[in-house]
Structure formats: C-alpha cells, structure tokens
Symmetry: C2
Subunit: 283 residues, 2 copies
Amino acid sequence: METRELRYFVAVAEELHFGRAAQRLGIAQPPLSRTIQQLERRLGAALLDRTSRTVTLTEAGSVLLVEGRAALDAVEAAERRTRRAALPSTGRPGLVLVTKASASRELLANLLDAYAAEPGAVPVDVILCGPGEQERLLREGRADVALLHRPFDSTAGFHTEELGAEGQVVVLPAGHPLTVRTHVHMADITGLPGLPLPRWPDPDGTYPPGPGPQVRDHAQLLQLVALGRACAVSPESCRAQLHGDLAAVPVLDAPKVTTVIAWPPHSRSRAVADLVRTATRLR
Amino acid sequence: METRELRYFVAVAEELHFGRAAQRLGIAQPPLSRTIQQLERRLGAALLDRTSRTVTLTEAGSVLLVEGRAALDAVEAAERRTRRAALPSTGRPGLVLVTKASASRELLANLLDAYAAEPGAVPVDVILCGPGEQERLLREGRADVALLHRPFDSTAGFHTEELGAEGQVVVLPAGHPLTVRTHVHMADITGLPGLPLPRWPDPDGTYPPGPGPQVRDHAQLLQLVALGRACAVSPESCRAQLHGDLAAVPVLDAPKVTTVIAWPPHSRSRAVADLVRTATRLR
DNA sequence: GGCAACGATACCTTCCAGGTATTGATCCGG
DNA sequence: CCGGATCAATACCTGGAAGGTATCGTTGCC
C-alpha cells in the first residue's frame, strides 16, 4: 500500500463524497475513483458502499480509516524528524517539549533548569498548546516529549514515566459561599446553582451535548469562573495562576491528577533519554 | 514520502550496499540510486554518506531508519487488519491473541473461558511464539492483543492493563544441592559452578557476548537445565510445566514478574475491549 | 417525467519507475 | 605505479501508471 493511496482513501472516507474529496486533494474526481477501486481490488476488500447518491464506509473501511490515519501519522512523523535531524546543529532545537498552557509552571521550570545543567544538554523548545493537542503533536513528530496529565490526557502509544501526583481543587468566584470551607466533596459542587461544570471539546473538535459553557482552554475557563458563569475542578498547582477574583477549595474525593513525561516508544535520541532521566530524578 | 521510497531506503540502510539492497528489492541498482537521491532532495537532507567504496548512515539517515521502520510497520498493520476485517465473518478469527509459549497455561485458559462466556464473544485464535516476538506481531497487525510479561517484554507503544504479578523461582536439575532449600537469593545462584544463566537473543537475533548457553525459547532452556548445563530464573507459574528431572526453588529477591494484556493504542474493536474487560475482571 | 447530483467509464497525455549500457572513482594485488 | 575489480552515479530508453477531459448511467427529487 502506498501512502498516496492511503491519503486518498482517508480523504474520501472523511468526506464520504468523491467530488469533495478530489477537490480537497487537488485532483480530478475520476482518478480518485480509480485509485480507490485499485486499492479495494488489491486489498480484496470493499472499503466503501456507494450508491449513486451516497457513500458509506464498510466495516473494513472503518478499520482502514482508523489504522490508515495512524500509519499516515507515522510516516509524517518519520519525515519531520528526519528533516529536523538534518538541520545544522547550531541553533537547531535539540528537543521540542510540548505541554498544556495551563500546566504547572513550577514543574516545567525546574525540569528545564535541571536539564540545562546536565552535561551534554541541548537547547529545548517549549510548545504550549490547548488540552488534547499534545498527543497529536507527539504522534506527528512535531514534538519529542510531552508533559501529560492523567486522567485527562491519554498516554496511548507512548512511553511514560510518572513525575508526580496532586489533588484537585474547585475554582470558584471569590466570595462564593463555598470559599469559606476548608474542603469540599464532589457532591457539593455538581449542580451548584448557576455554576455548572464546563464542557471540553472531543478530539474531533465538537462538544458533547449537555449543560455548561463550552471552553477551549484553561484561560477561557478561569475567565468564565471569574464572571460567575461556571466553576472548575482543576489540579492544585493551578492555584499559582489564580488572581484576586478567584478562590480555590480542595476537593477531597476528586481523582488525583498524575503528571507524566511521555515520548514516542522508538525514540533513539540521547537528548530525550537524558531529559526523561532528569525528570525522574526531580521527582 | 511514499512507502516505496521508505522501503527502498530501509533496504539500503540495512545493507549499506546499493547492489545488495537492489537485489533484495528485486530491482536494478540504478533506479535504486536514483530513488534515494530523490528522497534526499525532497527531504533536503543527506541520508547516506557514500564514497565509491563504502556507504554509511548520516545522523538524519539513522533517524529515518528507525522512524521509517516504525512507519512501514504501521502501514503493514493497517493493510493486514483491513484484510482481516473484510473476511466473511463465518469462521474468521475475530481476535488473534499472541503470547509466549512458556506463559502460564492457567491464566490463558481462564481468560479464554471467561471471554467465551461473554455475550457477543467472537472466536479467538491463539498464537504462541518465542520471547520478544509478540511485540512485533502486535505492531505488524498480525495480532490484536498480547499477553506480555514485564520486565522481560517492553510494552512500548501499547495500551496495557496489569493482570497480576508473581515471584520467580530458580529451576535446577533434580537432586542439585540447592533444591533442599525452601528459598534462595539471587546471590546464591549467580555463578553456580557449572550452571550458568543462559543468554537470550537480542531483538535483532544476535546473542550478547558472555558465558552461558544460547537459548531461543523456554523449552530449550528447560532441556538444558535437565541436562545440567544451565540454571534458569523463571516466573513461579512455570512450575506447572516442570517434570521429574527438574526442581524449582523460590528466589526471594528476584524481580516480580507482571503479566499484562496489551493492545494497539488506536484499536477500535469491540472484541478487544471486551476481552480486556474480561481479563481485568478475572484479576 | 425531467432535472440535478454523483460516481463510473472511456480515452488521451504526460511523466516517472525501471531496465540496460556505460562512466567514474577508489581500493588492491602485483 | 599500473591494471583489474568493485561499486555508485550517469545517460538514455521504454512501458505503465497517474492525471486530465468528456461522457455515461443511476438515483433521488421537485
């Protein structure tokens, strides 16, 4: 199977429309039809059910959509990492680390400082991104290591080392009645009148149905809390980012949040290994 | 990047010889040279340093060798899983489970029985293979789920659930002086006169240097122990496979062996999910 | 029933993958 | 120091496949 065929199939499977898929790929529709037919013949498997009005995925087609995306990601990662490895080493980012913008500044700073002090340390670029994006960046080879937070982020398919665990707090508008408490339980905050928990986007960018405002990142969320439109359950370390309008109260029975350092399983880079070792020593 | 280019590059990188690589690929040498040149131009990176006598990998080339192999595995897995999904469901293996031939028969039997009793269970094919092969089968899409044993097997790049842990025993020829002991420590058995620990092959099939006989699987190993040519440290559960010529004594300070069930991170299969759930309930 | 939408087919053109023959560089034995 | 052997690169040719345009056949819909 060639990546060209995979790209074509994924486009059709996502659009479920040969014309639009062809347009997206920048080719005419007939060659696209033909390529998909060849692919089906070669695999000995129908991938799409087409009437002259609708296109739907067969069972085999859904499998190839999922597996094919993963394979394309892997190819893209190989290409990107190779390109990076070929850049002149002066000034090239030796390592790209990705983490959530909302993550603990302290842990990250400690890690970067400690690593920089290691013999043989290379320059580290830090990418801050919204929740859920880190895994994609790591899979696509845009980053070498990530700081993830279980159970929010999935560590699917990566090597990981745990760096630490912390409890969670509920973030409330300053002056809210609950802020006088030394601690609360989950039951105290689900269904607080006027302060629903927010909804985060699914990996595909859509929001699950239900009450609560839609948020895209942590800054947005804190803004909404300050406005009295939501409350939030967040790791303790976010307290460092709270300003006067916000208050935090520990939630005793909220799940512990584990910070892990994650990297692609076949990484052969000495820099990644050094950084991970530094991180685990920090613990 | 096309998979054809990747396959060609990997062949050259492994052979470090254009002629042999071309032969292995079943093409002539000139088109191979040209394809690699195109690839290098497109990546903007030298992958190979060639004098007219020797070929060596550049830094970027080593990166592409590792990443490219992973990408090719992913493509192959996509292809194989799609083909499987297209087979007529009557009699088709719904699930392929791979485990070491030496693994506990009991756990596997319990798991298969419990899963078969689930509503919606599909037929499960079991592949037994030598140590170290499971990860490859899983990565290449030849299997859907594996039973691995930490710390022997790496769980690199898979989702896992722990199923249980066990201690280890030393397996000795019956009648060996140590067999009268109720337990031993590692120090008692490293350097037993005439009974060295065996050497297992590396992933590439070669053996590390050193003393001790080379073994390829557990049956070989037990044979060697029975012959009085080696001793072995193995998980407790292997006792079920010992016959009269062999004896086992617990090793108190040997690392615990954890049995885990592992599956590819993007598996969307309900059957895999059901099997994993069954396995964790068994625990 | 006619029209619009949409995938498949037919047919042509271009380009590239692959083959053969050869060159050019380097190592090595004498 | 020379001649042959080795090995990658170059030159050139050919067939097939990828892509384009025009058109057909089916189907849903007003």
